[in-house]
């Protein structure tokens, strides 16, 4: 199966090491990816939608139309891109009148979106039974001794009527992938809490949410080796704010935050030195130590 790879903005421009990890995983598992030409920001689901829904939907439809021209479905690696592109495709499927209005605009730049393109997040692909089996069979470094906490984030799972990703109050697709790689995943009360990155007006909202989640994880009976996220916003939010809060509050918060593809790449055989695990605020020294001894 071949997919049109939709990179978005934050990962390729600011966090290319996450893109690298994903491309490594895709290449090991033989997922064919085709680069998309001329695509824009997805566009970003929070502020652009807030400014003007029509601009948000039309730019999104243009990106979908580019994949349609390629004759491929879209693979996303960021929850924001996934939310925008999936929402636009679902809303336009429900509302043909609106689709016609958008196509009127797109016509002038020679695009037409008909609704053929499906939008996926890589978690959806790799959590399917045949892929889990495939990963188990070629596992190079099983994550047997690791205790991992999963952060799903909001935009992957909600609203479930649109995203149709997983159970909205008890998602498990990321846990399933990590368990297939040999790790244990922990259950905790604040698992589905928002990271607060998108609450832009008040920084204290994000700080409180990050502090609550990280404090809970640090107090769990079994030591958590890492928090695993799939969204670049959540990943950087927890990583940076955890460090700031630890300094401010004197709390010992030291759980490293990894992007799912990073730990997958490691388990599937990518060398530690080819992954930029140290490229974050909370250094995963203890984790690397555990992996290498």
């Amino acid at each position: 199966m071949e997919y049109a790879l939709f990179l978005g903005c934050t990962i390729p421009l600011k966090l290319p090491h996450l893109e690298k990890a994903f491309r490594d995983v895709a290449s090991i598992l033989n997922v064919k990816l085709k680069e998309m030409e001329g695509v824009s920001c997805c566009p970003e689901p929070v502020s652009l939608q807030s400014l003007n829904i029509d601009t948000w939907m039309t730019l999104g439809a243009r990106n979908l139309a580019i994949a349609e021209k390629m004759g491929l479905n879209i693979m996303t690696i960021c929850s924001g891109c996934y939310e925008t592109l999936k929402t636009v495709s679902v809303l336009l499927e429900e509302d043909k009148e609106y689709l016609a209005k958008i196509n009127d605009i797109l016509k002038k730049i020679n695009y037409k979106y008909t609704g053929k393109t499906k939008v996926y997040h890589f978690v959806e692909l790799f959590s399917q039974p045949e892929w889990l089996e495939k990963m188990k069979n070629i596992l190079v470094k099983p994550l047997d001794d690791l205790n991992l906490a999963v952060h799903y984030g909001c935009h992957l799972v909600r609203p479930s009527k649109i995203m149709q990703f997983d159970h909205p109050e008890k998602p498990e697709k990321i846990d399933i992938i990590l368990r297939a790689l040999g790790a244990k995943t922990v259950e905790f009360a604040s698992k589905l809490e928002c990271c607060g990155y998108c609450a832009r007006l008040q920084d204290e909202i994000g700080e409180k949410l990050v502090e609550d989640k990280m404090t809970e994880l640090c107090e769990l009976e079994e030591e958590v080796d890492a928090l695993i996220a799939v969204c670049p916003a959540c990943t950087t939010q927890y990583d940076r704010k955890e460090k700031i809060i630890a300094r401010k509050s004197g709390k010992k918060l030291d759980i490293p935050v990894l992007y799912l593809a990073e730990i997958m790449a490691y388990a599937l055989g990518v060398d530690l030195q080819d992954l930029s695990l140290k490229n974050r605020s909370v250094k995963p020294d203890k984790l690397i130590n555990k992996l290498t001894t």
Binding site: L13, P16, C41, L51, I205
Partner: protein
């Protein structure tokens, strides 16, 4: 919390609820029963001047100016839990986006939000990708063995932004 306000019926905008429901169709706020599930699960409920169920009630009452001037509509983190849990299928997070759109048309835009369209207008991305910044990004990607980025088609992106009504905002901010 908002201060208590007194208004006569003729000062309310009776059409406000329909202005909103027309655009959200089946997920309309007209079905709201004020149960408060949205507010009890809301990520930012402690931080807003008006909780979600009160925003909906205010829309239904026709308190247009109060709603569009509230800090509540911009504080939301769009976690979508309200929409997910509403027993009457009211899509509060989408209604909120609509209310933000209406506030924008009246020129009420927090600076934390207005910059996005400028960045996309100028770069095609939500992250600056011109001049020295582009050189740095490209160099870093090459070092990691990543493929060269295929730049966004700026002409097409600007056309869509202008055609859908955000052109002035994108260019006005640019001039600032």
């Amino acid at each position: 919390m908002v201060e208590m306000i007194k208004k006569n019926a003729n000062e309310l905008d009776a059409n406000f609820r329909y202005e909103i429901s027309e655009k959200v169709g089946a997920k309309s706020l007209l079905k709201c029963i004020q149960c408060g599930v949205c507010s009890s699960g809301c990520t930012v409920t402690e931080y807003v001047d008006m909780q979600p169920h009160r925003v909906v009630a205010s829309c239904l009452l026709g308190l247009k100016n109060e709603v569009l001037s509230s800090q509540a509509i911009w504080t939301c983190s769009l976690c979508h839990r309200c929409t997910e849990r509403c027993p009457k299928n009211v899509d509060y997070s989408f209604i909120l986006a609509l209310l933000r759109n209406m506030a924008v048309k009246e020129g009420k835009i927090p600076k934390e939000y207005s910059g996005t369209v400028v960045t996309i207008y100028n770069n095609g991305y939500v992250v600056p990708y011109t001049g020295g910044l582009k050189v740095n990004v490209d160099r870093r990607r090459t070092r990691m063995g990543l493929p060269e980025l295929i730049p966004p088609d700026l002409e097409e992106i600007r056309y869509i932004i202008e055609e859908t009504g955000l052109g002035d905002l994108a260019k006005q901010e640019q001039g600032d």
